[in-house]
Each structure stands twice: as C-alpha cells, then as structure tokens.
C-alpha cells in the first residue's frame, strides 16, 4: 500500500515529463499518454481505501490523525522536512476527486484543445497540477504540505496565461500574485509553528499540544489568511472570477473542482488541527466572513450577465457554506464542510464543463445571447439544468448535504450569534436558488438568439464520457452521503475532541 501512496504522486509526475518530452508531431499520442497516466493515477488512488483502517483505534490517547497507510522518509533534516505521506477518511475523498477530475480533463483535451499552445503541454501542466494537489492532500508534514501547496501555483498560471481567453494575461497574473500572497503567509505560518514546536509532523502537532496561546493565535491568523485566499473567502476572493472567466475549460474545472479545496482542506487539517486555541478564538470572525461570502456571492450572482463569471461567483457562495461549517468547530459542521467540498467539486466541475461547451459552440458567454438553448440543444440545456439544480442544493442531489448541515451545525452551536449566522446563511441558500433559477430561465427559455440558433442537439462522445461520471457522482453522493461521511466520521470526531478539549 505504501507503494501505491508514492505511485499516486510518481505516476502523474512521470506522465507529465513524458508528455512534455514527446515531439510536436506526436501531439495526439502525447495527449493520449498523459491521459493514460492520469487513469493509472486514479487506479492507484482507488485501492488506498482498502486495508486496515483502524476504526476502533481512535481513543483520547491516540493521535488525532491515524492514517490508513503512510510513508515516512527523511528529506531535509535541516529544515524539519520529512517526506511523510498518509491517507485517511478526511483526505481520501479529495484524493479520489482530484484523480477523477484530472483524468476527465485530460480525456477532454483528447477531443478539444483550446487555442493558445500545443495540447500536450496543457496535459503535462494538468498532470503537474495533479501532483501538487494530491501531494497537498496526502502530506502529513507541514513543510511538505507547503512545498506541494506551492507546486500548484505556476502550472495553473501557465494554463490560464497560455490557453485562456482574451484578457488572460492580466487574469493569470492576478491569480498568481494573490495565491502567492496566500502561499507566503502559509510559509511564515508553518514555520511559526515548526520553530515553536520543533517538529513539522502533523500527526504529532494536531491538537495544539505544546504550543503557547500566543503562538497558536499568530499561527492560526497566518494560516487562516493563507487558506482564505485560496478558498477563497470574502473579501479575498477577487482573483477568482477573473481567473475562471479567462481560464480554458479544463483549467476552470480543476480550479473550481479541486484547487479551491486546498484552502478548505488546509484550514481543517492544518490550521484548525495545529492551532485549535487559535481556531476557537477566531471562529466568530470566520463565521461572519463565511456568511458574508454566502450573501455577497449570491447577490453578485443575481447581477451577473456572463455564464462563467456567474458560476465563478457561485463558488464564492458555496465555499462560504463550507467555511461556515468549519467555523462552527463541531463534528456536524466539519462533516458538512467535507461533503460540501466534494459536492462542490463534482457539481461545479460539471457546470464549468457545460459552460465551456456552451461557450465553444456559441462563441459567447453572455446570458442575453444564450436564450433558447433548450430549443436547439435540448441535451446540453438539460444537463445544465441538472447541474444548476444540484448546485442550488435540491435534496437528493450532492449539493444539499453540505449546505443544509452547515446551517444545522450553526444552529446546534446555539446562542444568538450563531443562530443569526444560521438564519443569514439560510437566506443565502434561498438566494442561491434564485440566481440559479434565473440562470436557467435566461438560458433555456425564450426564442433562440442568432448565436444559439445554428446549434445541433448532438453531444460528442468524449463530452458525454467526461460528464457522465460527474452526473452520476452528483446523484450517488446525493442519495448516499454516507459514502463520504462514513469514512470521515471517526477522524472528524477525533479532531473535534482535540479542538474542543481545553
């Protein structure tokens, strides 16, 4: 199993190198090779759930993180950096989601390469991003986490700057500088903890043992700011709409689907885990910002005229629910955050695929020019409707659980403050429904515009292959949330016990 753990990182890296090294005349072959490696990565990631899980082993004495499998090798002792990887119920769903989404994106590029550069380089960049993402989710060493966290930045920049829309350079630069700001704060935060504790091992550090209150407050502030930029949390979100609007379809899918999750995952695993006292201290602020993100995101969405921009802003709102769940610091809230993460990844990934398909076909993303899509492209419009309904949190689909239980968790915490936050978040939920229904009304109803009129009903086979897994997952997670919640239950419980015990 430890071999698989390393393979999950080595395969995409190898794939990226091979894909980039193939000559220009073998572009299609190179893309196929890259897709093959992405598929192998998914195959290597899936069996990680097997083996001894040690459910029963969570006790108050045992460490709060009990990975199912782990690798622990020294790398740079002088910097407290160990190559320490592990997977548990909190990280496993994200690992699989990452591997799946990257595979779908690579497969999608077999069929369509956006303008801007050779397709094999795009696939290579996707695979490098995958290395960074998987490494971030698997790292059990704070410094290693930091290294992988930074790996993602430049390939994503290159993807936007190389294959993006008309205003791609500005958007890509904004993305890079904002997220680097987050990364450097993470750097300072990580070493605030590491120099104080003398170790970077997350297993040992979780629970905040041995860190003074002052260190914890400083560390949590730095770490939370870093992750808030990545998530992104209002008011640090302004890079997101630009990046999404300009990024190529596959870039948007990876960005929304898993890149944002690095922020929320980091918040749960690193920030809350390592500095629980800081988390308790900052929870009200985090809660207020999260609810503000929900409300601001929804209100901005109500006024958006551009398809990709609207979906991008909707991410701000959805991630607000996830952060609200984290801010409650309860088992329910953290569970809601985890399943909200996964659901948002699946649904928003699908939404961006569909938005890309619409934009590719019509050449426009303006809602005003897209009316009547249902008349000429009923299947595309139908899928868009499905994704939008899933996104607004209809019970029975994936989006429901995260948002509903974030609100429930806030109510459970009790007191006028958290109840108010819960009510406001619920209002935000209603607004979410409003803007998504508005989107559907604009896109599917009315007479076909000149841009929409010539469309055919047909969908390419590759498109169906890329979208079907996401549609299925949205249904399956919606009907059986236990798939995600079951494996996360014990680690979350263990984490909450450490965080709330004084």
């Amino acid at each position: 199993m430890t071999v698989l753990l390393v393979a999950v990182l080595a395969l995409p890296l190898l794939g990226a190198l091979l894909t980039a090294a193939l000559p220009a005349r073998a572009d299609r072959t190179a893309r196929a090779v890259g897709t093959g490696f992405a598929a192998l990565t998914l195959l290597a990631a899936l069996p990680l759930a097997a083996g001894d899980r040690g459910w029963f082993a969570y006790t108050t004495e045992s460490p709060a993180i009990r990975p199912w499998h782990q690798v622990d090798l020294p790398w740079v002792p002088g910097l407290d950096l160990r190559f320490h990887l592990g997977v548990d119920g909190i990280s496993y769903p994200l690992v699989v989601l990452t591997a799946l989404l990257v595979l779908l994106c690579c497969g999608y590029t077999l069929w369509r390469v956006p303008d801007g550069g050779p397709g094999r380089l795009l696939v290579a960049l996707l695979l490098v991003v995958e290395v960074g993402l998987l490494g971030t989710f698997l790292a059990l060493d704070m410094v290693l986490f930091l290294v992988f966290f930074e790996v993602v930045l430049l390939p994503m920049y290159a993807m936007i700057a190389g294959w993006g829309g008309a205003d791609r350079r500005r958007a890509a630069r904004k993305f890079a500088l904002y997220t680097l700001l987050g990364s450097v704060l993470l750097l300072v935060g990580v070493f605030t903890v590491v120099t104080a504790a003398g170790t970077a091992d997350l297993v040992a550090l979780t629970g905040g043992t041995g860190l003074s209150r002052g260190t914890q407050l400083a560390a949590f502030t730095l770490l939370a700011l870093a992750f808030a930029v990545k998530s992104p949390l209002w008011p640090l979100h302004t890079w997101l709409p630009d990046a999404h609007t300009q990024a190529p379809t596959v870039g948007s899918v990876v960005l929304a689907g898993v890149l944002l999750k690095m922020g929320t995952y980091g918040l749960i695993r690193v920030a809350v885990g390592v500095a629980p006292e800081g988390a308790r201290w900052a929870a009200p602020v985090l809660g207020v910002l999260a609810v503000a993100a929900i409300l601001v995101g929804s209100l901005v969405c109500l006024a958006q005229d551009e398809l990709k921009r609207l979906i991008a802003y909707s991410s701000v709102g959805h991630m607000g629910f996830v952060l609200l769940g984290v801010a409650t610091l309860t088992a329910t809230g953290l569970q809601a955050a985890l399943i909200g993460n996964i659901a948002h990844g699946v649904i928003t990934g699908l939404l961006f695929f569909l938005a890309g398909a619409v934009k590719d076909r019509t050449g426009t993303g303006l809602l005003a020019e897209l009316s009547g899509l249902r008349e000429t492209a009923p299947r595309l419009a139908g899928l868009l409707a499905f994704a939008a309904v899933a996104s607004l949190g209809l019970p029975g689909l994936a989006g429901f659980w995260g948002e509903a239980f974030a609100v429930v968790a806030a109510v459970q915490v009790g007191g006028p403050f958290w109840t108010t936050l819960a009510v406001l978040a619920a209002v935000g939920g209603a607004l979410t429904a409003a803007y998504l229904l508005r989107l559907l009304r604009r896109v599917t109803h009315g007479r076909p515009t000149p841009a929409v009129a010539p469309l055919g009903a047909a969908l390419a086979r590759t498109e169906l292959a890329a979208w079907a897994p996401l549609v299925l997952l949205a249904l399956v997670i919606g009907l059986a949330p236990g798939l995600v919640l079951g494996m996360a239950g014990d680690p979350v419980q263990a984490l909450v016990e450490r965080v709330t015990s004084r």
């Binding site: 002088g78 930045l153 350079r169 500088l177 450097v184 070493f191």
Partner: protein, 503 residues
Amino acid sequence: MSVVQSIDHLALLPAYAAAGTAVLVLLTDLLLARRGATLAVAGAGAVATVLVALLAGRQTRSTFCVADGCSYLAGGRSALVAVVFGLLTVGVLALAAPALRAGPTPTGEYCFLLACSMTGGVVLGAAGDLITLIVALETLTLPLYVLVGLRRGSQASAEAAVTFFVVSVVATSVTLLGAALLHATTGTLHLARLGPVLTGGTPPAAGAVPVDHPLTTVAVTLLVLGLAFKVAAVPLHAWAPATYDGAPLPVAAYLSTASKFGGVVALLAVVQGPLPATRTGPVLAVLAVATMTVGNLVALRQQRTVRLLAWSSVAQAGYILAPLGVLALTAGRTGAVRDTAVAAALAYAVLFVVLELAAFAAVVALRPVGADGGTIADHRGAGRRHPLVGAALVLALVGLAGLPPGLAGLFAKVVVVRALLDGGAGWLALVVAVNAVIGLAYYLRLAATLYAPTPVATSGGPVVTGADRPVIPRPVAAALTLTTLAAVVLGFAPQLLLDATRW
C-alpha cells in the same frame, strides 16, 4: 617571538592554485598566444582550484599566526567559498569563450584578470584579520574595473567602468577607515580577538581608546556600510544597475554573482563573531528591509533584461541580509540563533548565486554572440524558438522568485524565513514574504515574454523550423546545462548545502 613565521603551505594550497592559474594564463598568452590555449589553461586552473579546495577543506588549518590570532584560517568554510568562486570562474569563462574567440576583446588579459579576481575570492573565505579580509576583497574587485570596461567602442561600458571604479574606491576607503578606527579602539585586527575585546571579555591593548567610546560605534557602522557597498545594499546600490548593464554579459554575470558573494562572505565574517550584534543588528535589519523593498519595486519598472536582473539581484541581496536582522533582537544574539542566521544567509547566497548564474547563462545563450542583454521585448517568443533554453531560464527565474519547480529557490526562502522565526523576528519574515510576492510580478513578466507570440508572426504558426534557430555555442550550452543541473540537484537535496554552510 620568532621573527620568521612558520607557514603552513598545505593551508594555502587553494590560494596557490588560484594564483598559479593567473600566472600560467599570463605565460600561456605570452608564449603560445593562442586564444583557445589561454582559455583552456584558465578553465583547467579554476577546476584545479576547486578540486584542491575540496581536498584541503577536509581539515581545519591555520597559518600566519601571532599571539592575537591567525590571519589565515582554512577549513570547511573557506573550502565552500573557494569552491563557489572557482566554479563561478569556470562558468563565466565558458559564457565568455565564444565572444572572446570571435571578438576584439584580448583573451589573455580577460582570463588573467578573471583568475586574479578568483584568487581574491579564494583568500577571502580564509581571511582571519581585517586587513587580509579587505585586501582579499580588493583583489577580488580590482580586476573587475578593467573587465567591466572591456567592451571596446562602447560608451556605456566605459561609463560603467568609471562609475564602478569611483563607487568602489569610496566604499573601500570607508571600510578601511572603519577598520582603522576599530584598531584605534581595540588595538587588534584579528577577527577572533575583536569579539571578546568589544564585548568587554578581554581588555583592549594598552593605549587603546576605551571600548564603550562612541568611536567604536562609528567604526563598526563604517565597516558594515563599506561592505554593504559591495553587496549593493540599498541605499548603497545605485552603482550596480548601471555597471551591470554597461558591462559585457559574462562580466555582468560575474559581478552579480561572485562580486556580491564576496561582499556577503566578508560581511558574514565580521558580523558572526567580531562585531557587537547590538550595533550591527539594527543597521543590518534596516539595510535588509530597504534593500529588498526598493530592489523589488524598481525592478517592476525595468525594460532592459540586464537591468531587471540587476535590480532583482539588489532585492536578492536584501533576502541574503535578512536573516542577519535577527541580531537586532535580544533573542537573536544567543550563539545558536546567531549561527543559524549566518548559516541561513550563506545558504541563501549560494543558492542565489547558482540561480543567478543560470539566468545569466540562459540570457547569454538566447542573445547573439557578444551582444548585450537587450530589452525584455527582444526576448519575445524566445522560449518558443529555443524550448530548452527557455525552460532553463524560466526555471532560474522561478527559482529566484522562490517557487516550485525552482525548488532550490523555494528552499532558499524557507531557510531565511525559518532562521528569522527562530530568532523571533516574525515581522521581518513577513516583510520577506510580501517582497517575494512583489518579486514574482517581474519574474513572471520576463518569463511570460519568453512565450508571448512574436509580433511579426509568419502565418505558419508558432512552430519554428530548425533552420532559423541560431546555434548556441557549445561552452555556453555546457555552462547552462551544468548550472541548471546544479540548481535542480540543490533543489532536491538542499541538505548537502545546509551541511556545508554550518561552520
């Protein structure tokens, strides 16, 4: 005391090798008068210096000793410094080789001056007293005045040489004044003895001014400022961009790596032990903050490649000095923390030197033989014409910005931030962090230009056939490959360097 000192020639071997290289180059040029032979002798001599330094570095030796201390201390530290200078010399020779073979520049003089400069660097790492230190630093710098002006027929080159000369001489006299005043207050020049005397542990020599005299503060400040000139720290940086831009590209590469590294080594030598941290700490903290901030902000607006690299190297000097800023705090003055800070500054300096040389090598490879760095716009689309060189340049720039895949640069930043937090200087760590963000903006601008579509695009698209690719001279390609390889290896195994810098 015996009048005749016993000299440990084994300790001096690296210095002999370096000086011998210079003499051999001169003789070869005189007797054979063939450019290729001269270059080969210079290169072989530099490589030999590196090897000798590696062998000699296994044990600690000292020579030229008197009662106060020793003037020449050979050991792991001097070996590391000698190796860096030797390798830099080899690299710069390789970068300069095509231009030397083709152009009017006199090869013999060029190689001789470079070898002399290397000798200064090799001795610098082993200097045990202030005079040896300053003389070594001057030996390192003096040949560069001539090298900077060697682009014949270029007014910019002559102006650069004069600027460099004037500023550098002033800096040296300031350093010397500081050293003289320090001698007046303490009665000693040996680094090992200065520390105890200045902290009051040992009484100063008879007839010296009392140690707590204001003169000591003046002396220390002058000494640090004089050395800061060499590092091109703000506000003593103004000479650097003009000089780099006017100099031939390989010499600019040498200036921004070897010359800067020399300044850093000298500064570290006086800061680690001899000078009182209460006086140097605040000065260094202010210098570091000003240097990185001003360097980064001005670099944002540069349009010429070498000027951009020059300003960026000013900013990088700020990061190098930053760990020493912990000396400004009481917590940062304990032995272990101080040593960590010095080791961090040195580690950062070495990683910076490798990445900077890689960046310059890539620029040399992209430009026609003997040309200057040109404007950034001249590099438009260069990455598409030369995918490998473009990738190497991007790797170097990204490393200088401190991000993966330039892992060496990331670990460099990590080392600095860690040392700062170890010393409790969290605020300075945040300044470094924010500066890294500013830095990325201009490194990205240059990197993105490499892949921007060329304005006069032929309708064929971005694929360029092999025919219109200018051939990259073999020595330049080799230098670029090896430097990039070094950056990659140090990126994956920074522990190698971290072990070497803890002296």
